[in-house]
C-alpha cells in the first residue's frame, strides 16, 4: 500500500467517531471497565489492609495459610482465576455469577493479596527502635500504632496503592473474556456495524481504546510519581 492510501484509510476510519453516538458509546464502555476496577480497588484496599495486618501475626498456622493464599494469587494469571470463578463456580457450586460479579470477586481476591503484601511490607519496614522509642516515652501499644507506626506506613502505602490502581485498571481489560459488555465489546459492535460503510474503522476504534486506557492509567501513574517524590523529600 502507498503511504497516501494508508493516510486515506486512517482518516476515513476515524470518521466513525463523528457518526451518531459512537464515541459516547465507547466512553460508556470505558465507564463499565473503570467502575469494575473502582469497586475492586476499594474492596481490595479494605480487605488488603486487614490481610496485611493478619500476615504480621506471629503464628505458624496463620503465616502458612496466608502464604499459600498469597502465592496462589500471585502464580495464577488473573485470566485463569477469572475462568475458574466464571465457569468453575457456576458448574461445581451451582452459583450462577454474572460476568461483572465474577470479575469483581476475582479482582478483589487478587487485589487483597497484592495490597496485603504491600501493607505487610510497610508495617515491617518500621524499624524496631521506633517501637522501642515509643515505649520509652511511655506510650501504650495502641498509641504507638496510631501515632508512630500508622503515619509512617501510610506515607509508604499511598503511592504504592496508586500503582495497584493502575494495574487493576489494566487487568480489568480481561473482563471481555467473560462476556461483560465493556469498551472492547462495544468497540467490536461499532466495527461490526460499520463493516460495509467504513471497512477500515477497526484501526480508529482500537487506537482510541488504546489511548483511552493510556490516559486513564497515565493519570494514576503520574499521581503515584508525584506522591512518591513528595514522600522522599
Amino acid at each position: 500500500m502507498l503511504s497516501s492510501e494508508i493516510l486515506d484509510a486512517v482518516s476515513t476510519s476515524f470518521s466513525v467517531f463523528f457518526q451518531g453516538k459512537n464515541f459516547i458509546r465507547l466512553l460508556m464502555g470505558l465507564w463499565v471497565t473503570i467502575s469494575i476496577a473502582a469497586v475492586s480497588v476499594v474492596l481490595s484496599i479494605f480487605f488488603g489492609t486487614i490481610f496485611g495486618m493478619i500476615m504480621t501475626i506471629k503464628n505458624r498456622v496463620v503465616r502458612i495459610l496466608s502464604k499459600i493464599y498469597l502465592e496462589f494469587m500471585r502464580i495464577m494469571p488473573q485470566l485463569v482465576l477469572l475462568f475458574l470463578a466464571y465457569y468453575g463456580l457456576t458448574r461445581s457450586l451451582g452459583i450462577s455469577l454474572s460476568g461483572e460479579t465474577a470479575s469483581i470477586l476475582v479482582f478483589t481476591l487478587w487485589g487483597t493479596a497484592e495490597m496485603g503484601d504491600l501493607v505487610r511490607g510497610a508495617l515491617q519496614s518500621v524499624p524496631r527502635h521506633q517501637y522501642e522509642s515509643g515505649m520509652a516515652i511511655g506510650l501504650t501499644n495502641r498509641q504507638i500504632f496510631c501515632h508512630i507506626v500508622l503515619p509512617q506506613t501510610l506515607r509508604l502505602l499511598v503511592p504504592m496503592s496508586m500503582n495497584l490502581v493502575t494495574r487493576m485498571i489494566k487487568t480489568t481489560s480481561l473482563v471481555v473474556f467473560v462476556g461483560v459488555i465493556e469498551v472492547v465489546k462495544i468497540g467490536q459492535q461499532i466495527i461490526e456495524g460499520n463493516r460495509l460503510k467504513v471497512p477500515t474503522c477497526s484501526i480508529a476504534v482500537y487506537a482510541v481504546i488504546f489511548f483511552m486506557y493510556f490516559f486513564v492509567c497515565w493519570v494514576f501513574s503520574l499521581l503515584a510519581n508525584i506522591l512518591e517524590k513528595r514522600q522522599k523529600e
Binding site: 476510519s13 465457569y87 458448574r91 489494566k170 481489560s173
Partner: protein
C-alpha cells in the same frame, strides 16, 4: 471428574504449554535487549533518544497487553501490515516487557553509588571502562530478583494470547468447555498447567531475592 477424558486431552495441554513457553522465551529475551538499551539511554541521558524512550515507556506501562494485541492483530491489517498471531504475541510481549526490564535495570544502575564512579574516574578509567568493570557487574547482580519477577509477570501475561487465535492453554481450555462441556476437567488442567509452569519461576524469584538480601560479594 472424567479421568479418561483428562488422559486424552493432556497432550493438547502440553502442546499448548510448549507454544506458550516458546513465545514467552523469545519475548523475554527481546524484552531484555530492549530494556537494557532503554536503560542505558536514560542512564546516560542521551538527548532526543531519551524523550522517545520515555514516551515508549509511558505507553507500554499504561496500556494492557490485551489492547495492544487487539491493535496489532485487528487494526494494523487495514494499513497493510499483516502479522500472524504468533508474531503479534512476540511483538506485544516485547513492547510490554521492555519497559518492565528497563525499570529493573535502571534502578539497579542507580544503586551503584556516585563514589564508586568517582573512584573509577580517579584511577583513570574511561566512561566505557567504568560501565563495564564497575557499574554493570554490580547492577546485574542487583537486578536479578527484579528480572525474575518480570519473567513471572510476562509468563502470566501470555494468558491473553488466545485472543489473537494462538492455540495456548486458555484456548485449549475454552475449546474443551465449548465443545464437550467438560468444564471441571478443563479448568483443573488449565490451573494445573500454569501452576507447573510458574511455580519454579516463583520459587527461583524468592530464592534470588533472599540471596541478594543476605549474601553479598565474597560469600562464595
Amino acid at each position: 471428574m472424567d479421568f479418561t477424558f483428562i488422559k486424552q486431552v493432556i497432550p493438547l495441554y502440553t502442546e499448548a504449554a510448549w507454544l506458550t513457553m516458546h513465545i514467552a522465551l523469545i519475548g523475554i529475551l527481546l524484552s531484555l535487549i530492549v530494556g537494557l538499551i532503554c536503560a542505558l539511554i536514560l542512564y546516560y541521558r542521551i538527548p532526543v533518544l531519551r524523550t522517545i524512550t520515555s514516551c515508549y515507556i509511558e505507553l507500554s506501562r499504561n496500556t494492557p497487553l490485551l489492547i495492544q494485541l487487539f491493535f496489532l492483530y485487528f487494526a494494523l491489517p487495514n494499513v497493510g501490515i499483516k502479522l500472524s498471531g504468533v508474531q503479534c504475541c512476540i511483538i506485544g510481549l516485547t513492547f510490554l516487557g521492555g519497559s518492565y526490564m528497563e525499570e529493573t535495570f535502571r534502578s539497579a544502575l542507580d544503586t551503584v553509588g556516585k563514589v564508586q564512579i568517582e573512584s573509577g574516574q580517579c584511577i583513570g578509567l574511561t566512561r566505557a571502562q567504568i560501565m563495564r568493570y564497575i557499574v554493570l557487574p554490580q547492577a546485574v547482580s542487583v537486578s536479578i530478583p527484579g528480572f525474575c519477577a518480570n519473567v513471572m509477570f510476562l509468563i502470566k501475561e501470555t494468558s491473553v494470547f488466545s485472543i489473537v487465535a494462538v492455540a495456548d492453554l486458555m484456548y485449549v481450555a475454552k475449546d474443551l468447555i465449548g465443545l464437550y462441556y467438560k468444564t471441571d476437567e478443563a479448568l483443573l488442567l488449565l490451573a494445573l498447567s500454569y501452576f507447573i509452569l510458574l511455580l519454579p519461576v516463583s520459587m527461583l524469584a524468592s530464592y534470588a531475592e533472599r540471596r541478594l538480601r543476605y549474601a553479598q560479594f565474597g560469600n562464595t
